[in-house]
Symmetry: C2
Subunit: 246 residues, 2 copies
């Protein structure tokens, strides 16, 4: 392992910080792989440090180019501490299967994860912040903000937006299913892979309020029974195409 940064024009630079140390064949650094895994997720875990104590906070995020955004209350501990360019690590994990092998050692899981490193900063430019608050909703539900009750000044004030330019990132992927030692295959032991997936349930329309308001067609990506990651990837693509058309 080298700590010398190497630059790849189509990928993130690799150094000791983001290099996949174990099982190198599971590591990817190209933008396409990293960004696709990020765009298939809405939930991430962000790590940051306050007085030497690490915190790991679950939150929603979104990506624009090589920049990640997340938000929270202006009063939150995480956001107050990240406001001034503090180092952070944002991680996304897709769990794909449980792997039951013929030895304890080979029990495993299929997964796809991304660790992204950078310095988090508070978005305080009013134009950038307002745009981010729109994207926060429209990235998940394309075109939705245009049909909503507009944000109030108090709501905008109460919401803090954080941006982090990705300095380095790595993706780690296991997609092997059962991978026992060859000599264990002759043993009379049951082994299997159990797929797991985050699935959308039946939408539950709010029963309060105005009758006869139909579900917008733009929400069709969020169909019951569909994997959440597929809906998120589709919504992300739709949002990007619409942004490109404007």
């Amino acid at each position: 392992m080298s700590d010398t940064s190497s630059i790849d024009s189509a990928g993130y630079p690799v150094s000791g910080r983001n290099q996949v140390k174990r099982l190198h064949d599971r590591g990817f650094y190209d933008h396409d792989t990293v960004h696709a895994l990020l765009d298939a997720a809405m939930l991430c875990h962000v790590s940051y440090v306050i007085d030497g104590q690490p915190f790991c906070t679950p939150t929603f995020f979104w990506r624009e180019g090589r920049r990640l955004f997340w938000h929270g209350s202006s009063a939150s501990r995480m956001l107050r501490n990240l406001a001034h360019g503090e180092p952070a690590c944002l991680t996304v994990t897709h769990l794909d299967s449980l792997v039951l092998a013929r030895s304890g050692f080979n029990h495993s899981a299929d997964y796809r994860s991304v660790m992204a490193f950078g310095k988090a900063r508070l978005v305080d430019d009013p134009v950038e912040k307002e745009r981010a608050l729109v994207m926060m909703v429209d990235r998940l539900y394309p075109q939705r903000t245009a049909g909503l009750r507009p944000a109030t000044a108090q709501e905008i004030k109460a919401t803090a937006v954080i941006a982090m330019d990705i300095e380095q990132a790595s993706a780690k992927i296991r997609a092997r299913g059962v991978a026992d030692d060859e000599q264990d295959l002759a043993l009379p032991i049951y082994a299997e892979r159990i797929p797991v997936s985050m699935v959308l349930g039946q939408p539950e329309p709010c029963r309060r309020g105005v009758q006869g308001v139909e579900r917008p067609a733009a929400l069709s990506a969020y169909a019951a029974g569909r994997p959440l990651q597929d809906a998120l990837s589709e919504a992300s693509l739709t949002q990007r195409m619409m942004a490109a058309e404007r």
Copy 2:
């Protein structure tokens, strides 16, 4: 907010580190709530610090009493750095729904999460380590280790086990669905809650190896279509009952 620790005999002590700062009604510190959310999960994200840089690593974990365990390669960056009692934060998040409201500000999600704080240490006592390696499998799949090819000395050496006694923890729960401002309910805007759940797929038996080896009855908790969290909670309970009987 006070930084003075307060002790509750049925819960974790609360201080500035683990107090739910925002929306206090979402915070819980009692053992029952915290432990149930931990036992319904296998995937966590662990935060730790190396030279001021936070890392957020996804990994599997399990709980025994107020102690959390996770494992990895003896060569991994995380485990080498946590070996000597370093502060860590282990977080578990269950995403339960997406919430589409009538304003951007009230867009949200239902979720249940736990943040657990403590000092991570390497388990190097051979007896404690061997027991942990059994639990690592049997906590997920009760009784499974007894039927597996035994671990080799090399495998045990290659696996590092980390333990962390929970010093403090908090659970944060939102289960409100759509929660719009009262005055927004009169607007002709569609709002809904979309449930999401991590669901088990159809098990895929390994096609290599000995024919006629049936799926053990002990794996019945892992049935296709079932939420993963239900299977994990059941397996955890089964494992505890069996341990109590011995």
